[in-house]
Symmetry: C2
Subunit: 216 residues, 2 copies
Amino acid sequence: MNAVAAENQGEQSSRERILDAAEGLFARRGYAGVGLRELADLVGLGKSSLFHHFESKPQLYAAVCTRILARIAARVDESLARGGAPMERLERVVDDLLDLLAAQPSDARILLRSLFEDDELAGETREEREGRELTAHIMASISALLREGMEVGQFRSVHVPGLLLSLIGQTVFPFASGEFGQEILGKDPFDPAEVKRRKRETRDLLRHGLLAPAGR
Amino acid sequence: MNAVAAENQGEQSSRERILDAAEGLFARRGYAGVGLRELADLVGLGKSSLFHHFESKPQLYAAVCTRILARIAARVDESLARGGAPMERLERVVDDLLDLLAAQPSDARILLRSLFEDDELAGETREEREGRELTAHIMASISALLREGMEVGQFRSVHVPGLLLSLIGQTVFPFASGEFGQEILGKDPFDPAEVKRRKRETRDLLRHGLLAPAGR
DNA sequence: GTCTATAGGGAGATAGAC
DNA sequence: GTCTATCTCCCTATAGAC
């Protein structure tokens, strides 16, 4: 059975298993806090074997980030393609993103952490360029949706970049907040009931803050 | 001239200079990404001298975080003490926090990063306990204000813990977002005009989302 | 309070056998 | 594709002189 057939059977390639393990470790301890020795042990490989699949630690980190961004970009494209009025599409894309972040507990932390690591990711590898392109694509898609809603008069006139940053803070941050969020909320931020509540909260926020008065 | 007199003259103790430098480094590269050699060079001391002022790297990190939290707690207490109706106090405390975060460019990143480092800060040093107490105090103060606003009927009935997390995302995250935020906004998030805009945006969000209909 | 010297270990990465 | 062995460098922390 070759590698492709193995994956069709639900098994994973070494590359995928490394990426999965690395994602969890980087989420918990950050780029510099993870040693390749520890990662190799977790996957059940020798440390040197990692270098057969990834050429360096920065490149591995970039691959982890890019895989997450690719998942998100795919979901955003899919959500937006289903059509509807701007507010309908906006609420759907936010709902779907919250579902995605809730299903992949490491994603929110890695995404926020990667924003803070300006230094580490100054490189020019293929993965990093791809990651930047995916980020730009996601942001451009949602910006276009917001501007469209304003043009057709469904949304109030708002500062689009500012709202984008706020939306990220509102949706991504709670899933990255770990024990702190757990303590504040009194329950796990990933608990299905809490995810549902956060969807409602975000939707209410958009309806109160973004809908044009005539649209209510 | 002794140490206290020196500080009155505007000079800093070694301890303060170490904390300032460490804050900048930890903000940029995270706990594990900073070496004490680099920190010592930046301060202009030998590496060993750091251990005269702090007993270990985790304790130094905790001291950095606790100093930030103490600044914030002091400002929150001061803002809330000036009185007024709940919405007036809430808008003032948010305004003041945004000013504080804008004036201390490393604070937002360190605060968010420290939330992600559940592992590193599992300790029981005096600084860590102090940091947890300060965090609890800040959160309790703002929670109490939100509940008071709801009780007197000025605020709609909202889920207080959820709104707390959202507010942190809305206010702290943009200052931590670095080059990403800069690219989205098209300007430095710390630019005075942008800080002013973010204050307005946050105030509008609170007025649209939190004020009770009768209060408009 | 700051220094030099050093202990003791772990990091990322490479070479080359199998 | 995985392994063992090894390179070189840097890490936190300590000892002890000044």
